[in-house]
Amino acid sequence: MGSLLNFPFLAAVILAGIALYILIFKKNMIKFIMGIALLEASVNLFFVALGYREGGGAPIYTNSPAGIMVLPVPQALVLTSIVIGVSILALMLSMAIRTYRHTGNIDTEKSRRMKG
């Protein structure tokens, strides 16, 4: 069962909670994008914390000290996820800039009447 030892997971949960609050209650498009980036950061933190092993070193054998290693698969997944996050962030920001030029504001409630 859980204990205070699970604190890194709880940190990821706090980040995800802040991100969900932003996504639900904020109307500004830039703040919305910040919320999505924060949610992604929380998922990355959760993955890396999931793969940590007590006292383990980096999973690289070059001149490594003998002993146990942390799990390599979550690190590889997070490495892929970071690059995807950067590109998706760029795409979302471009769409926000484009929307602002079209409609004059970036409020998701007011810019409903976007013209082709």
């Binding site: 069962m1 859980g2 204990s3 030892l5 699970n6 604190f7 890194p8 997971f9 709880l10 990821a12 949960v13 995800a16 909670g17 969900l20 609050y21 639900i24 209650f25 914390a49 999931l50 793969g51 940590y52 092993r53 007590e54 999973p59 690289i60 054998y61 070059t62 290693m69 799990l71 390599p72 698969v73 690190q75 590889a76 997944l77 490495l79 892929t80 690059v83 995807i84 590109s87 998706i88 760029a90 795409l91 471009s94 769409m95 800039i97 484009r98």
Partner: protein, 90 residues
Amino acid sequence: MRNFVASLFLGIAIVFLVSSALLVHPFGEPPAPMDDYIIQNAQAETGANNVVAAVLFDYRGFDTLGEATILFTAVTGVVMLFRKKETAEK
């Protein structure tokens, strides 16, 4: 009313997240038969000292292929969004 429903949803989501964070394995002791296999056999099977690189490009190469596709799509989308208007109408 709308704010109340949204707050209710947020509360349920946070309760779910906290309980799941407390119910996963204890921090620092992951059960990992697959990762143990990869750590022990990566050098013999792929020849790379860096086990993360071995996972990225050999064991889970399809993930990297999908990532390459997503990066290409994002670059295409950004360039398309900022294109000159005349070329778009031609």
